[in-house]
């Protein structure tokens, strides 16, 4: 059987990629995609721990499904926001959206 640490390494890698994406990209859609990656990294962890730590309990799976749902909602809302911002400001570059700055 594949040891648990492999899954964790994969998840960590995925998380780091996502984080990097979030921090480095200027396009708001790309930042959103980075977030999605980080969430999926979390999902991998959840499923992995469920399987290895306590397979009789459903909690891990259930949480994963909830995260899916949240992610889906987030994308829907996020993308909608991005489109609306684009319509108004004609840009999706995060740095240009500084209305609230001091």
């Amino acid at each position: 059987m594949v040891p648990l640490s492999w899954y964790l390494i994969l998840a960590a890698a995925l998380f780091s990629i996502g984080l990097f994406g979030v921090l480095s990209r200027k396009n708001a859609i790309a930042i959103l995609l980075g977030i999605e990656l980080m969430m999926n990294a979390v999902n991998i962890n959840l499923v992995a721990f469920w399987r290895y730590a306590n397979p009789t309990l459903m909690a891990g799976q259930v949480f994963t499904i909830i995260v899916f749902a949240v992610a889906a909602a987030e994308v829907a809302v996020g993308l909608a926001l991005v489109i609306s911002i684009y319509r108004r400001h004609n840009t999706v570059v995060a740095e240009d959206l500084n209305l609230m700055k001091w």
Binding site: L19, V22, L23, S24, I31, A94, E95, N98, M100, K101, W102
Partner: protein, 727 residues
């Protein structure tokens, strides 16, 4: 007669006038005719009840031993009750008799006195005596006639309440309800003296009367409290008809002047009488009380209320004589005797120099009440009661007569229109005997009774009995004082009669005086019957010639009230001669001095008496004395001392000092601590610090989400590193 029926009736006797009071006040005060019908009807009902009770009482053989009694529980006190009730024993039956008659007479008289049936006055207003109305007769002539009293209904309401008070006082079986009736009469006296409250003199007289009697009343209240706590009851029979209680009270000592409890209680209660019966030194209110309408003077200030004071002393007679051996007077008795005799003499001297027809009678009342008090002080129980009753009849008669005279004079004043003439001043009268014959004859009877005109009048028999008692028991000082008082009484009575009725009219108004209507003269006639006839029921048995012809019913009857029946005094010729001499001498002297009195002359007494005349005319300056030494200090004490000095200055000063100190302390804190330190450093300082820090730190807030995330990552890394290396 059925015992039960009589006791029920006793309860009911005081009620009709009370009912009349409420009916008039609440419902019928707009209708004069209805109001007086109700009031007189109520008086008639009470009179009827009283007469039935009186007859029943006279018919009882051992009424003193077994009086009509009935009582109920009134106040719960601990496990027991304070009972109140009614009682008719011989004394109260006798008193009830004269009370019923005088009250009825005065109720009827009031109808005429307040000009019922006359037109409404032109400018009359409530609170002032009626000023007269202008009427036009059949020939087109204008006349001014007497006008009806604007507060006619109210008057009947008040005298109704008064009658209730008096009846309550008479029928009650205990000192507490006696006190209730006593005070209700006090209130009515106040209201009725101040009936014409618009006149400042009437207003002040009313207050004076109430306050002066209240001085006595508070002592009486103390006496009641003392008696009640010493015996546990206020019931007459349980105290005054109970040798055990009386002996216990006589033996108990008090720290006050070494008097026995019985003596001290008696004295305290007696002070109540001093106020109510206007004895010296609380006499000053009664003459001023003449400001009230004349029926009031007759009823309250001659026949009933002031008599109530004497009645109370007669009631408590067994109490203050409890430690009396029979000869040497006890302290209390000596005080009572002294005050009575002194008042009798002192008031008589003032009466000599008064010109107001009602004031003469007022002082005469004070004097005669002093007579009764003196009699009680020397232990002459029956004589005092006898004089009380005869006096009530003839003094009511005299007052009503004087009211009739004044009314007649007012008629004259209306006729001439000269309102400067005082219709009460005897100097303005004269020759009225022809104008007002009924008034004259009845007044003469009353005056002779007052003077003690021998044999026929009631006053003679009662006064003689007192003098005889004083003489036989060798109370010389009192005997001589009373004899002198009697002389003066006869003198000023004759002076009054002469000035009023004899000679020629001294003013035009007297010329036009007119006899009063039947509602006023009928009561006069009725009362004059008693002023003569009531003396005959108390003729001493051993009196020369006529003694024993009529049994001495009064002595037997009223004497039966006491546990130890008093013995009639032995006959002695000296007091009899004395009373003959003083009565006839006084009358004769009065006639001689005043028969030729002319208008505008100074009073014939002015010369011989010298400065004493002014002193007498000014009533020994008692009013001035009280004004300066009692009223002024009290006003100062309350307005300046209590209100200004104690409350506003001292107590509030301390409070304000507290407030001031707290305020100062607060200011100090504010200026030296709050403002610089707490506000400046802690308050404002922290605000400034925060503001400065905020300004510095706001550059972190880039608004770029990636910058935040990077910071968060950095912090997380630092924390993870710290955790990893340090933990």
């Amino acid at each position: 007669m059925n015992h039960e029926f009589v006791t029920t009736l006793i309860w009911l006797v005081p009620l009709p006038p009370l009912l009349a009071f409420f009916l008039i006040v609440l419902f019928t005060n707009r209708s004069k005719a209805l109001s007086h019908t109700i009031a007189v009807g109520a008086a008639l009902l009470s009179w009827l009840g009283s007469m039935i009770i009186f007859i029943a009482a006279v018919g009882e053989e051992y009424l003193g031993e077994h009086p009509f009694l009935s009582s109920i529980n009134w106040l719960p006190t601990g496990d027991t009750f304070l009972q109140i009730g009614v009682q008719i024993d011989p004394l109260s039956a006798a008193v009830l008799f004269f009370v019923a008659w005088t009250i009825l007479a005065i109720f009827v008289y009031s109808v005429g006195y307040h000009n019922f049936g006359q037109p409404k006055g032109d400018h009359d207003q409530p609170g002032l005596p009626p000023h007269g109305a202008t009427v036009t007769d059949a020939h087109g002539h204008k006349h001014t006639v007497l006008s009806v009293e604007p507060m006619y209904s109210r008057f009947f309401a008040f005298i109704g309440l008064f009658a209730f008070g008096m009846y309550t006082l008479v029928v009650s079986d205990n000192l507490l309800t006696l006190f209730v009736g006593w005070e209700i009469m006090g209130l009515c006296s106040y209201l009725l003296i101040g009936f014409w409250y618009g006149k400042p003199s009437a207003r002040n007289a009313a207050v004076k009367a109430f306050m002066t009697t209240r001085v006595g009343d508070v002592f009486m209240l103390l006496g009641l409290a003392f008696l009640y706590s010493a015996t546990g009851t206020l019931n007459y029979r349980e105290i005054f008809y109970n040798q055990v209680t009386l002996d216990a009270l006589a033996k108990a000592t008090t720290p006050f002047l070494g008097m026995s409890a019985a003596g001290l209680i008696g004295l305290l209660l007696f002070i109540g009488t001093v106020g109510k019966s206007a004895q010296w030194p609380l006499h000053a209110w009664l003459p001023d009380a003449m400001e009230g309408p004349t029926p009031v003077s007759a009823m309250i200030h001659a026949a009933t209320m002031v008599s109530a004071g004497v009645y109370m002393v007669i009631r408590i007679f067994p109490l203050f004589t409890a430690d009396w051996g029979g000869y040497e007077l006890t302290t209390t008795m000596a005080i009572i005797g002294f005050i009575g005799a002194f008042t009798a003499f002192f008031a008589a001297t003032i009466a000599v120099a008064q010109n107001d027809i009602k004031r003469v009678l007022a002082y005469s009342t004070i004097s005669q009440l002093g007579y009764m008090i003196a009699a009680l002080g020397i232990g002459a129980y029956v004589a005092a009661a006898f004089h009380l009753i005869t006096h009530a009849f003839f003094k009511a008669l005299l007052f009503l007569g004087s009211g009739s005279v004044i009314h007649g004079m007012e008629h004259g004043v209306m006729h001439t229109g000269n309102r400067k003439v005082d219709p009460q001043d005897m100097m303005n009268m004269g020759g009225l005997r022809k104008k007002m014959p009924i008034t004259f004859w009845t007044f003469l009877i009353g005056g002779f009774a007052l003077s003690g005109f021998p044999l026929v009048t009631a006053g003679f028999w009662s006064k003689d009995e007192i003098l005889a008692d004083a003489f036989v028991h060798s109370h010389w000082a009192i005997f001589i004082t009373l004899a002198l008082a009697a002389l003066m009484t006869a003198f000023y009575t004759m002076r009054q009669i002469t000035l009023t009725f004899f000679g020629a009219p001294r003013t035009e108004e007297a010329e036009h005086a007119h006899e009063t209507p039947w509602t006023m003269t009928l009561p006069l006639v009725v009362l004059s019957v008693f002023a003569v006839g009531y003396g005959w029921v108390g003729i001493p048995e051993h009196f020369p010639l006529i003694g024993g012809l009529i049994p001495n019913w009064f002595h037997e009857f009223v004497g039966g009230t006491l546990l130890k029946h008093p013995k009639p005094v032995d006959f002695n010729i000296v007091p009899l001669l004395t009373s003959l001499v003083v009565a006839l001498g006084g009358l004769g002297l009065g006639w001689l001095v005043y028969k030729d009195f002319k208008a505008g002359q100074p009073d014939p007494l002015e010369k011989p008496l010298g400065f004493m005349y002014q002193v007498l005319k000014n009533k020994y300056y008692f009013d001035e004395f009280y004004g300066h030494f009692i009223i002024k200090p009290v006003v100062w004490l309350s307005e300046v001392f209590t209100s200004k000095w104690i409350d506003k200055t001292a107590i509030d000063g301390i409070l304000h000092a507290f407030g001031f100190a707290t305020d100062g302390l607060g200011h100090t804190f504010r200026i030296y601590l709050d403002a610089p330190v707490i506000n400046g450093v802690i308050g404002d300082g922290s605000y400034r610090l925060t503001q400065w820090a905020g300004k510095q730190l706001r550059f972190i807030q880039t608004g770029r989400i990636q910058a935040y995330l990077a910071t968060a990552l950095a912090v997380a890394l630092v924390l993870a590193a710290a955790y990893f290396f340090l933990a």
